[in-house]
Amino acid sequence: MKQQSKFSSQEQQQAAVEQHGIVESVKDFSTVEELLRFDAGQTSVPRTVEQRLAKSAAEITSPNRSWWKKLFGR
């Protein structure tokens, strides 16, 4: 009698990956949206955006802006 594998294909895939020294997990996404939401959740905004924005916003609101900056927005 043919012995049935006690591991599912997912578990076998996982084991194969771990044998190669890479610890990963298999995930199923029922929809494209779900996959993209997961991807978005893994994505973080670089801190430099916040820093650059704070600097740019300060330049706009600064009362001590020189006349050429006010005129030409530089």
């Binding site: 949206e33 991807d39 978005a40 670089p46 706009i60």
Partner: protein, 190 residues
């Protein structure tokens, strides 16, 4: 940029007599609440982390400059998405090297073979983002944008329709084809 208020912008606006313009002091909260969504849209729509970073900066700076014009008749996120979409579309138009799909190209995706009812099984790796990007890059801009917008649970079909200037029914129809095209390309990129 430090968060200036703990209460969310949405909560504060509900307490006030809407519509009102956002006060500049609320801008930090606006950034905290929506920057990830805007950055993600820019990243996956433009397909370049550095350009996405620049775009996110530019979108929020535009929003900052236009704070007084924000009348509160749309949600903050929709308002920011509108600025982001216009900004990203302008950038894409100026990149002459990029292949732009025409409506005629939609026919290509009509014939895409994909089992949209079966799950998308993936190994959770650093390469997943690259695979998603590669898949999105292969799709027409319109499909890419619709998929990214519908993935945001805060947006309704009506809001997506308004943002993309078409009817909700048209959005639903195109999304069906976009999902199919994505699944086919995603499988191909495995």
């Amino acid at each position: 940029m430090e968060s200036l208020v703990n209460q969310s912008v949405a909560e504060r606006r509900e307490e006030q007599d809407a519509p009102v313009a956002l006060a500049p002091a609320e801008f930090a909260t606006l950034y905290t609440e929506h920057s990830r969504a805007i950055y993600y849209l820019a990243l996956r729509f433009l397909g370049d982390p550095q350009k996405a970073e620049d775009a996110t900066h530019d979108v929020f700076l535009k929003a900052f400059r236009k704070l007084e014009q924000f009348r509160g008749d749309a949600s903050c996120r929709t308002w920011l998405y509108r600025i982001a979409i216009n900004h990203c579309r302008n950038l894409l138009q100026t990149w002459h090297g990029r292949h732009v799909f025409s409506n005629a190209d939609e026919a290509v995706w009509e014939t895409a073979v994909a089992k949209t009812d079966s799950p998308l099984r993936v190994l959770e790796t650093k390469e997943l983002g690259q695979r998603i990007q590669k898949t999105l890059d292969a799709l027409p801009d319109e499909y890419r944008l619709l998929l990214l917008l519908v993935a945001d649970e805060e947006l309704s079909y009506e809001e997506i329709a308004a943002l993309t200037e078409q009817s909700p029914d048209a959005v639903r129809g195109k999304l069906h084809r976009a999902r199919k095209a994505f699944a086919a390309m995603f499988e191909k990129n495995a």
